[in-house]
Amino acid sequence: MTAMAVPLGWYLGLAAALFVIGLVGVLVRRSLIVMFMSIELMLNSVNLTLVAFSRFHGTLDGQVMAFFVMVVAAAEVTVGLAIIVNLFRLKASSDADDVDVLKA
């Protein structure tokens, strides 16, 4: 294990902070675009954790995993943006609370 200039805990702390910011963003914001960005933030906080552990353990597994997450995130962006665009065409709004057709 190689010595690290910055201790692992700091990376984890930053990642946790980013994750919570993203989570709170998803929960409290109404704009679908912002919620979408918050989700990206959460995914990237996880990427940070993976890379940090990868470096910490000296293996490449975590970094490979991070690449996969990025690919999935990119795919998710295309699908998600398509949904948002279509929703805007339908409702002329990108507010999540305007879409409640599942309300019982």
Binding site: V26, L27, M35, D100, A104
Partner: protein, 661 residues
């Protein structure tokens, strides 16, 4: 006094290869195949359909006769022959073979069924001419005969039961042949349903027989009869009585037979004479080794028979429908047969079955001939004086009338006397003899009324039925009448010698008694409460009195029938309304059944449906509460997901920490 019970030999042999007995399976199969052919392509055959059907039943008749002569040629102890045809069922060790049993009893029945059946087929050529379902009628007639032949030839309870059910089916088809008339279709259903009640008795009896002996084949069960526990034997006997009462129209199941005349007249003749109703009598005679072990049950059979005979005879006295009178007379005569087979005089019962087959077929066909001439009129009060116009029908009916009235020396006299003589001996049967004698008088009375009103007296039809010009029927109808008349007149010779009248069961002197001996187990006492000769004289005198009474009432001028009916009042109404038996059944059984059905419907609706609907409503109720969770807002779902994740994380992390700690 002592009661003698004959021993049952129970010896069964195999047929000689290639003999008629070996090939006897063809006897039912040929008419059955003919029925199938006629049902499939009968329409294209047109009037040749009748020829196909007659050839088929004619084949059976000839084959039966050859088999009968072969049986006669065998030594007496080897006359019960079983010829295996096929294996029907094989379940583990249990095997039901489809075999054919030809013994004297079956052979005699074969002759009756095929020959009388053949005559009725021939008669139908003329009677059914122009009917739109001509070929189908002959197909059904063939099927009916084939069913009865399966029944007669069955070597086990099971194969007999197959024929039994087939007879029920074909009678349903034929009674309801003119199903466009609602009443006829109902009569067919009634016959079928009432017969099913008897069938239930038959089936339970079969189960009991199987559990008691481990077999259903007559060849195995009947020799074991004395070993069956007496309680079981009583139950079997009573249940078979229920079955026989259903098919042979005895109290309380006789109500279907009078309605069964809804079918075309040849069908009535077939049902009443050759097939169907004789099945019950045949069954009781067939299992006589079982009845011989429990004479009390036999006595019950006889009492049922005599009660039915009396009831039906009383009803027949006032009916104003020439077929209905004959129908009730059949019920009454079947009662006589039940007396015979019930009291251990199976030969007398079967003897009466044969002679009755002749004269009842004759009378029904004669009634058909009369109806043919009178534009389907059935009320005898609108006829009269047909003697001159229909000489052949008149002359043959005369013989039929003398036979059924029990006047010597015609066939009915011998068979009826033989049955009544059998009722002189057994303890508890004296009442049967007395009532049977009264019924003999009633029979002579109502049959004379039937005969006098139709053929003698003034020609009432000239006023009542203007435009009807009666004529004699075509030869295809009169030929069977003539042949049956010969049987009715001379049928007594089958079992009548002076000795056999004085001592009713006398294997030495009479043909039928000695011939049937291997098949049945007669039992009889030796102390008649009236000597035989005076007893026969009394019965004959009563019958003559019956004829005289009918003459005085219906042939003499100046009898005011309306005033007479009023004077008789209730008695007349009781008889005319058939003792309200149908109404009684309707009020009790039908209404009761309906009530029960309604109760079950209510149970189904309230309890069963209630449970199902209740569960449904409960789920729906839960759902109304549960669906509030679904807000439709993405954030609330997201919150739930997040909370769930936190919860899971907490559980796993907690577990990890605990595991470490």
């Amino acid at each position: 006094m002592t009661t003698t019970i004959a021993t049952y030999t129970g010896v069964y042999g195999m047929p000689e290869a290639g003999s008629a007995i070996d090939l006897a399976w063809l006897i039912p199969v040929v008419p059955a195949v003919s029925a199938a052919v006629l049902l499939l392509i009968g329409k294209r055959l047109g009037r040749y359909a009748a020829h196909v059907a007659i050839l088929a039943i004619g084949f059976s008749a000839v084959a039966s006769t050859i088999a009968f002569t072969e049986l006669l040629a065998l030594p007496e102890e080897a006359r019960s022959v079983i010829s295996p045809v096929a294996t029907w069922l094989e379940v583990g060790d249990f095997e039901v073979a489809w075999s054919i049993l030809i013994d004297p009893l079956a052979a005699v029945m074969l002759l009756l069924v095929t020959w009388v059946g053949l005559l009725i087929h021939v008669y139908s050529i003329g009677y059914m001419e122009g009917d739109e379902r001509y070929s189908r009628f002959f197909a059904y007639l063939n099927l009916f005969a084939a069913s009865m032949l399966v029944l007669v030839l069955g070597d086990s309870f099971l194969t007999l039961f197959v024929g039994w059910e087939l007879v029920g089916l074909s009678s349903y088809l034929l009674i309801g042949f003119w199903f466009e008339k609602r009443a006829y279709a109902t009569a067919a259903k009634k016959a079928f349903v009432v017969n099913r009640i008897g069938d239930v008795g038959f089936m339970i009896a079969m189960f009991l027989v199987f559990s008691a002996t481990g077999s259903l084949a007559f060849a195995e069960v009947l020799p074991m009869a004395p070993e069956i526990a007496s309680g079981t034997a009583v139950a079997i006997g009573l249940l078979l009585l229920v079955a026989a009462a259903g098919k042979s129209a005895q109290i309380p199941l006789f109500v279907w037979l009078p309605d069964a005349m809804a079918g075309p007249t040849p069908v009535s003749a077939l049902i009443h004479a050759a097939t169907m109703v004789t099945a019950g009598v045949y069954l009781v005679a067939r299992v006589s080794p079982i009845y011989a072990t429990v004479p009390g049950v036999g006595l019950t059979v006889a009492w049922i028979g005599v009660a039915t005979a009396l009831l039906a005879a009383l009803i027949a006295c006032t009916q104003n429908d020439i077929k209905k009178i004959l129908a009730y007379s059949t019920v009454s005569q079947l009662g006589y047969m039940f007396i015979g087979v019930g009291l251990g005089a199976q030969v007398a019962g079967v003897f009466h079955l044969l002679t009755h087959g002749f004269f009842k077929a004759l009378l029904f066909l004669a009634a058909g001939s009369v109806m043919h001439a009178m534009a389907d009129e059935t009320n005898p009060w609108k006829m009269g004086g047909l003697r001159k116009v229909m000489p052949i029908t008149f002359a043959t009916s005369l013989l039929g009338w003398l036979a059924i009235a029990g006047l010597p020396p015609f066939s009915g006299f011998f068979s009826k006397e033989e049955i009544l003589v059998a009722a002189l001996d057994p303890p508890g049967a004296q009442g049967i003899w007395v009532i049977g004698t009264i019924v003999a008088g009633l029979t002579a009375f109502y049959m004379s009324r039937w005969f006098f009103l139709i053929f003698l007296g003034p020609k009432r039809y000239e006023q009542e039925l203007p435009g009807v010009h009666p004529h004699e029927s075509p030869p295809s109808m009169t030929l069977p009448l003539v042949l049956l008349a010969v049987g009715s007149a001379a049928g007594g010779l089958l079992n009548a010698t002076p000795a056999s009248l004085l001592r009713f069961w006398d294997p030495e002197t009479s043909f039928l008694s000695s011939f049937l001996a291997p098949s049945v187990v007669p039992y009889y006492g030796d102390t008649p409460f009236i000597p035989h000769v005076p007893a026969v004289a009394i019965v004959t005198a009563v019958a003559v009195a019956g004829v005289a009474a009918a003459w005085a009432l219906y042939l003499r001028e100046g009898v005011d029938h309306v005033a007479l009916r009023e004077r008789l009042g209730g008695f007349y109404q009781l008889s005319y309304q058939r003792f309200y038996v149908d109404e009684l059944y309707e009020a009790t059984l039908e209404r009761g059944g309906r009530g029960l059905a309604n109760a079950f419907t209510t149970f189904d609706r309230v309890v069963v449906d209630g449970a199902v609907n209740g569960i449904g409503r409960g789920v729906a109720g839960l759902a109304t509460v549960g669906r509030r969770v679904q807000t439709g807002y993405v954030r609330s779902y997201a919150l739930a997901v997040a909370a769930g994740t936190v919860l899971l994380a907490a559980i796993f992390l907690g577990g990890l920490l605990n595991g470490q700690g």
